[in-house]
């Protein structure tokens, strides 16, 4: 069933070998789940890094609120931002589409080597749609945790974890940096998300989460007219994948089955 042994140490927790089992009996372990999440709320905070954009790389901060319908399914509301929340920068007078100054508002961004190669070696310009970066994302997703497991680290620590998949959608605002170094607002898109990850429970109320989440959207960005090229609209299906590491706080749900004892 949902048993995932990540036994880092190759020996069992208690080392003496068990006697060979008789064909006339089976031994089972039936125990109350130590880290039950059923009916719990989970508030998480993540720091993330985009890893698969060809031309850009940028950082994100994410807050999420999960409600665990049961041990396997959860609904997740997520807000991700890649720059100082709700700050756009100083608008350039008369710009249309709107352009903003303010490089320092993003959590960090840079162009990749691929961008330099295209730009400098091939003397080509990637389309603005390729350069669009997410500003803010707000979405809802469904999380499915089919695997719950435990692991031991050198027979000293016993840990529990669950592995999950998530899928959902939401809306995101994006922007790109034009030749003048201003940030151009490219509007709001519908975004589909798909991800996977795992949470390592350190306490009934606390977990560490590692999440890989892909944001897919159709970037439709206007290319400015130049001497050789007329103004046109570039449309690209963009996948921006973030690796996010965070912490979770869980509350509510079923109280652990512990008979009150005075000792």
């Amino acid at each position: 069933m949902k048993k995932l042994y990540i036994s880092i140490a190759s020996i069992a927790l208690l080392s003496a070998p068990a006697a060979a089992q008789s064909p006339n009996e089976r031994v089972h372990v039936l125990q109350k789940r130590d880290y039950s999440v059923k009916n719990k709320f989970e508030v998480s905070a993540f720091g993330g890094l985009s890893i698969d954009d060809i031309f850009t790389q940028h950082y994100s901060a994410t807050l999420s609120l999960d409600y665990h319908l049961d041990e396997a399914f959860a609904l997740e509301l997520m807000w991700m931002t890649c720059k100082v929340p709700f700050a756009l920068g100083d608008k350039v007078e008369g710009s249309d589409p709107a352009e903003y100054k303010g490089d320092n508002l993003r959590f960090g961004n840079h162009y990749t080597d691929a961008y330099d190669e295209v730009k400098n070696d091939a003397k080509l310009s990637p389309s603005n749609a390729d350069l669009a970066m997410i500003n803010n994302f707000l979405g809802l997703s469904v999380q499915f945790s089919p695997i719950y497991g435990k692991w031991t680290l050198f027979n000293r620590t016993l840990g529990h974890a669950d592995f999950y998949l998530s899928a959902g959608g939401g809306v995101a605002s994006t922007e790109f940096k034009n030749a003048r170094g201003n940030w151009v607002d490219t509007g709001v898109y519908f975004v589909g998300t798909f991800g996977l990850g795992f949470r390592i429970f350190l306490a009934r109320w606390f977990a560490i989460r590692l999440d890989v989440r892909d944001f897919t959207f159709a970037a439709r960005v206007e290319r400015e007219a130049s001497a050789s090229v007329e103004a046109q609209v570039d449309t690209k299906i963009r996948n921006t994948m973030f690796v996010m590491l965070g912490v979770s706080f869980l509350f509510g749900g079923e109280a652990p089955v512990e008979i009150w004892s005075p000792y």
Binding site: H28, V29, K32, E71, Y263
Partner: protein, 534 residues
């Protein structure tokens, strides 16, 4: 024999106390002694009080000095020495102006030395209910408890209950007194049960249950009240756990196995009483014919965590369960384990336990020494049995007493003001005598335990043989009925246990012990009995 030794010790202490004055004390010596005492110069005060006690012609001064000499020594942590003088005051009787205080002093020494035998015997001997009525109620409660404990050990249950029932509810010893009363009712329940007196059996167990619950109720079942109770009653935390265990035992005794299971399951995993709870819950499940759960409990008990545990009966229970479900090979395997690990130790154990050349002091080394040299006869005691003896709570009391005596002997020798004094000489004698007595008592305790262990294993050897004989009879029956002797060719393996809901985890056991799984094992076994045979 032991009682004679105890009496001899107290006789010696009394002799010391009764030593007559040989010279007149300088006038005002008692005042100097009191001044030193009040100033906290206890070594000097003790020396001066001793001089007054030995030389003063005024009886009142001698009496005062006698008590305060004890008190000075007590405050210096020289409990055995203090005992000598408190005892002298106490045995002098009500005529002594410090009679009651002497009794309280004895109780304080008993508490400090964790002595629940020697001093309680002495108090019991001189118990004077009329005079004791004037004593501090808390001190009197402790006296009543100790006397009750002593009488309980002598199996004088009625008298013991009377003393224990007189303990003041405000006393810190109150919870312990309740607990002992409950244990006495449990013992009486067992006694009536053996006599086949069902109504009295139930009555005694009900009374025990009521008392155990009363102790648990002292916690108020809330953290804040429990914290207050922890500050009020001695060892209450330990008592709460013991009450839970004994509630389970009482329900088991009443034949209410379902409730027994509930209370056994409340014993925290990995706690001091867990092994006992696992074994006993195994019996409870067995009585409910929940053999899979019973074997599951034993599976934890037989896991590497408890590899050194002395539990011969658990293997007999295991063999019995397999026998009940007609898994004869498995039953034989359990019996073989018992034979290899327990029965095989009988010759060595008998040789040690009945060796007339060994002195009690030699037996005592098993308890009192941390490391046993190869030449020590006690090193031949199998490790599992040694550990079982050392697990007895009284062992720590012996060790505490011994450490205390050694510390005291050193302190007497190191007190510069006493160098060459009669006081130092006298106190050294007292400590030496007590140390010798302690070694003898501890040795007797070890010897008794070794003999009991031998008898326990021997008793189970008889059970094992009975099961073996029954298996042979059953196997013959199978052959006669033309049925396969192999269990796997008879009956079906039961399905895996039902998982109540998704908040439970099911893991198959694959010969690998994970610590978090201990206590959660369940077996499913093949129902291999021919129809109509259970």
């Amino acid at each position: 024999m032991r009682r004679k030794r105890i009496l001899a010790l107290f006789a010696m202490l009394s002799t010391l106390a009764a030593a007559s004055a040989s010279a007149q004390a300088p006038a005002g010596l008692i005042n100097k002694a009191v001044e030193a005492y009040n100033a906290g110069d206890l070594a000097r005060a003790a020396l001066l009080f001793y001089e007054v006690r030995m030389t003063d012609t005024v009886a009142g001064n001698r009496a005062q000095a006698e008590y305060y000499l004890g008190q000075s020594l007590f405050k210096m942590g020289m409990y055995q020495s203090a005992l000598a003088y408190f005892n002298a005051v106490f045995v002098a009787g009500p005529a002594h102006p410090y009679y009651l205080k002497g009794g309280e002093g004895l109780i304080n020494v008993a508490k400090a030395l964790r002595d629940d035998t020697l001093i309680p015997s002495q108090i019991n001997k001189y118990y004077n209910s009329q005079e004791f009525a004037g004593m501090d109620p808390m001190a009197l409660s402790r006296i009543n408890f100790y006397v009750g404990l002593l009488l309980y050990r002598q199996e004088k249950y009625g008298e013991s209950l009377a003393f224990l029932g007189a303990v003041d509810p405000k006393s810190s010893i109150y919870a312990k007194a309740l607990f002992l009363q409950a244990i006495i009712h449990t013992r009486l329940g067992v006694r009536y049960n053996l006599a086949g007196q069902e109504a009295q059996t139930q009555q005694e167990y009900d009374q025990a249950i009521k008392l155990f619950e009363q102790i648990l109720d002292l916690s108020g079942h809330t953290k804040s009240r429990a914290t207050r109770a922890l500050a009020t009653y001695e060892d209450i935390q330990r008592l709460w756990q013991l009450c839970t265990l004994n509630l389970a035992r009482s329900y088991y005794g009443k034949g209410d196995y379902a409730k027994a299971v509930v209370y056994y399951a409340r014993i925290p995993r990995f706690s001091q009483d867990w092994a006992d709870a696992l074994f006993e819950i195994g019996w409870s499940f067995y009585m409910r014919q929940e053999y899979g759960k019973s074997l599951g409990a034993l599976h934890t008990l037989h896991s590497p965590r408890f590899s050194d545990l002395f539990h011969p009966e658990s293997w007999i229970l295991k063999a019995t369960i397999y026998f009940q479900v007609c898994l004869y090979d498995e039953s034989k395997a359990a019996l073989a384990y018992f034979k290899d690990h327990y029965e095989s130790q009988l010759p060595d154990l008998k040789a040690i336990a009945t060796d007339a050349s060994l002195t009690n002091e030699q037996y005592a080394s098993l308890l009192l020494r941390d490391q046993l040299e190869a030449s020590d006869p006690m090193s031949k005691v199998p490790l599992m049995i040694r550990k079982a003896i050392l697990a007895n709570p009284r062992v720590e009391n012996f060790r505490h007493f011994l450490r205390s005596l050694d510390k005291e002997a050193k302190a007497i020798a190191d007190t510069s003001e006493w160098k060459g004094s009669r006081l130092a000489e006298e106190l050294s004698g007292v400590v030496t005598v007590q140390r010798n007595l302690l070694e003898k008592t501890a040795g007797g305790f070890v010897k008794t335990n070794l003999i009991q262990t031998f008898q326990t294993i021997q008793g189970f050897v008889g059970h094992a043989k009975m099961i073996q004989l029954e298996i042979i009879t059953r196997e013959r029956g199978l052959l006669k009925a033309n049925l396969s002797i192999k269990a796997e060719e008879r009956g079906k393996l039961a399905p895996r246990p039902h998982v109540p809901d998704e908040t439970w985890n099911y893991w198959p056991f694959r010969q690998e012990y994970w610590e978090d799984e201990l206590g959660f094992f369940q077996y499913t076994v093949r129902r291999a009995c021919p129809e109509g045979q259970q």
